[in-house]
Symmetry: C2
Subunit: 514 residues, 2 copies
């Protein structure tokens, strides 16, 4: 492994700025203590020369007990009495977690490349976020939560403009805020249905018919129209009833839940390494596009929109080329239906661009882009005013998002910009991919179909003993997750650096040798 690391140690652009501990009086005492202890831990010399983004981070994982250890076992048993713990992976002590490291209750501290299912962007107990979280405006947002559609707070335009909208995808300049990925997608679907029916009706000024009004209340057409959203095999868009109808990841996500009879198109099943199978993969993508177009033309409930993830994440980290997505954009334009890009997992920097669809170089932007997870808030971006329903109270709910989380996302954006974290992720991702490439050559039975080259740290591979690898990773100090049936997926935070990549590669090497 030592030689592997040495050969990997090429020169990289240095990331000069670093996270500075807050000195404000408002820092809670518990956190001040934590900083002090983290500083003591970091007295150990860093294991390489890259300037640290989180200087006070532990220098590596700390394993004190089996995982779960005795304290964790007791706590899980207690929690099990009031909360379903069958999907529990690890009980965490977030007071002791810092930067890329997650702590448990037994003193174990793991390098976290799963990051709360890809949803922690800039490190546990990030000091900049801590300042935002303890600000008077955050306190007010928490205790005076408004019904935003009716009684927005005086600075809501500011919060949107300096936060969520400041990172709007190219070509889009408006947002409808939501609470999580599932409802963000469903709100986008609703916007698509209202847009479609408005077109069919003859425009925004045409009133609803009596038949529409009446039938809407009994869930019948024309008021509740026979329209659909087209999604892709193995896609994941959430687990509420509308979003779940577009989710096709695994039976366990869908069994026993009624679903809309909506169309599902094949998603490209690419062969790796890509350069060896260029012709086959191109043919596969053409086949999927043709089948998508056929379904759009022939499905009994016409699609109002196509929804797609830039990388199918829960479904197994399935990639497609920019040409495929350009093709989807062309087909949706041709058939006058909307193109929704679900960036809930791919968005906010993880692929080495702020939005993963920035990799596609589309001629015209998606009609809507949905987001959540690392944004810590949610919603859909759009640009066309016609996507606003023709009357108020059509796209509406009590809270319509959450200023507290919008304020937090603004702080996250500022941190990403201050530390140039999208660039860091592109650079670290390339370094990590190279290391994994070498590991896959050394252990071809362990790392198969390595994918995510040029996609930041959004990297995955197939493993014939995936669940065993995930479990053994804890023993070598790494918290890592899976996706699909046999993929190991890496979802580190945006503060993941070369030294962390080295630790990950070392840990994998240990597992593969075991």
């Amino acid at each position: 492994m030592a030689s592997l690391l040495r050969t990997a140690g090429r020169a990289r652009p240095a990331i000069a700025r670093s996270i500075v501990r807050p000195t404000s009086r408002s820092t809670p005492i518990a956190l001040q203590r934590h900083y002090a202890s983290a500083a003591a831990a970091s007295a150990v010399a860093p294991n390489n020369s890259t300037p640290a983004l989180f200087p006070d981070e532990p220098s590596g994982p700390i394993i004190r007990t089996e995982i779960p250890g005795p304290k964790s076992k007791d706590a899980v048993e207690r929690l099990g009495k009031v909360f379903d713990t069958r999907s529990l992976n690890m009980m965490a002590n977030y007071n002791q977690s810092y930067g890329n490291y997650i702590a448990d209750l037994d003193g174990n501290v793991l390098l976290d490349v799963y990051a709360q299912i890809a949803s922690i962007p800039v490190g546990y107990n990030n000091p900049t976020l801590q300042l935002a979280a303890t600000s008077p405006e955050m306190a007010s947002a928490i205790i005076n939560r408004p019904a935003l559609g009716n009684f927005p707070q005086h600075d809501w335009a500011d919060i949107l403009e300096t936060g969520i909208l400041s990172v709007a995808p190219k070509g889009l300049n408006q947002v409808f805020t939501a609470q999580a990925g599932s409802d963000a997608n469903e709100l986008a679907y609703k916007a698509a249905f209202m847009y479609r029916r408005q077109q069919e009706r003859g425009g925004a000024n045409v009133e609803f018919s009596e038949a529409e009004m009446t039938s809407s209340l009994t869930n019948q057409s024309p008021g509740a129209p026979d329209l659909s959203i087209l999604s892709f095999k193995k896609g994941f868009h959430g687990r509420l009833f509308g979003s779940l109808s577009t989710t096709r990841s695994k039976p366990i996500h869908k069994l026993d839940i009624p679903a809309f009879d909506w169309p599902v198109a094949p998603f490209p099943d690419l062969k790796y390494p890509l350069d060896q199978y260029a012709a086959e993969n191109q043919a596969e993508e053409q086949h999927c596009l043709a089948e998508t177009e056929r379904l759009i033309s022939e499905w009994h409930s016409p699609p109002a929109a196509v929804v797609v993830e830039p990388v199918q994440s829960e479904g197994g980290d399935n990639h497609a080329s920019p040409a495929f997505f350009q093709g989807l954009r062309d087909i949706t334009k041709k058939h006058n239906i909307l193109f929704i890009v679900d960036e809930v997992q791919t968005g906010v920097g993880a692929t080495g661009k702020f939005w993963a669809h920035d990799h596609w170089n589309l001629d015209t932007p998606p009609d809507m882009v949905t987001f959540s997870k690392k944004a810590q808030t949610a919603g859909y971006y759009f640009g066309d005013d016609a996507l606003k329903p023709n009357k108020p109270y059509r796209q509406f709910n009590t809270w319509m998002g959450d200023p507290a989380r919008a304020i937090l996302f603004r702080a996250i954006i500022q941190e990403i910009e201050r530390l140039d974290l999208v660039q860091n992720t592109a650079v670290t991702g390339a370094y990590l991919y190279d290391g994994l490439q070498r590991l896959s050559e050394q252990f071809p039975g362990e790392i198969q179909n390595l994918r995510g080259k040029g996609q930041g740290t959004f990297i995955a591979w197939d493993s014939p003993r995936r669940d065993e690898v995930l479990k053994k990773a804890k023993g070598v100090g790494i918290n890592v997750g899976g996706s699909g049936e046999r993929a190991v997926r890496l979802r580190p935070m945006l503060i993941f650096q070369q030294k962390h990549a080295d630790l990950l590669l070392e840990g994998l090497d240990k597992i593969f040798k075991s």
Copy 2:
């Protein structure tokens, strides 16, 4: 009006405890200033002798300009460029809002009996909530948001037990947490469908068939079963695709959105005053129950559950008697389907009991009770372990609720208990209802079908010029909302006291005389 108020001034149990300003160092400076200014405002003598729960509150509304005033108009115009403002009621300055009073940008301060669509429980800038919101554990919950199903925090059992679960409805002892009312209902529906199919399959140990696994991915039966949720005409259960399929409040909530072909039963259309129409109303409720039972037996997609609100809120504040709900419980038991009570708007004290269904004296508890709004978090309570799906990852999503909001609900619960606010609401509600009763006799054309007697402050009436009344209310210093086609609905906070009721009655008197 003066005589009206005097005759209303009966002796009431005094609420002795009051909200004490926090003295902690962690109180933000902005808030300290606010307390100082609020204290100055309260130098004006209180307008009656009831001990004040919020001593520093303004002594009454302050109207400085037309509403919206010039500053609000400018701000709304600016917000309109990035956010849909067509449903905007009033832009608020929450820094200047306190207790029962909401402030705008022009120095106007209104008595708020709408409270963010019934979702603010214990007053704007409540000092106790302020302490919770500025605590280190809140900061950690905000910046280290866990994926609760996988990586719960070490104190999650504590937070549940001392918070959400400490107010679990009688007979229920478990909770699945969510983010808002819509998804709380949808998660309850999912639990109902999984429970039903598990029964049909022969129990928790029977594996899914290959046909179920395969068909689930194409949204076809048997994997995606032809089952339904039965709801009621004018019911409102949310606006996502599954919840919207059970919502039947108004066409504007449903138009153009595809919906499941699920059954809808009539909800009692009671005549007022109730004591004059006892026989007719009883017959009406029996008719609705019979029709519900017929639909359960005959609907093409069998219902897995019946969902009902204790008071249909968005649909126009429609009440039914405890006997009706007891009848629903009996019918669901008889047909072995689940009974879900949607307490999103009625829960957390507003009806003078913590849960509105406490008024019904059921023999057996509901199978699930959903909640949100005043709880500031959301979820469904249940008691039967069989309502947990047989395998992990079936009822699951990334965040599965939010510890930050669960911590806030715990503080809300503590505040409700400390100040005996459910009792306060029962007492104030009775006082207010009596006052409205007298007003309705004085202005029979203005207050029709007054309802909510014995239901705390959860009071409404029909108004032939409803929208005009709501608008004029702002001019007399009152922020009040409507529901359904012509109801004025009162949704004050739990800190609403006799003096506030007097101000409300005075204001209504002014409007009716105008």
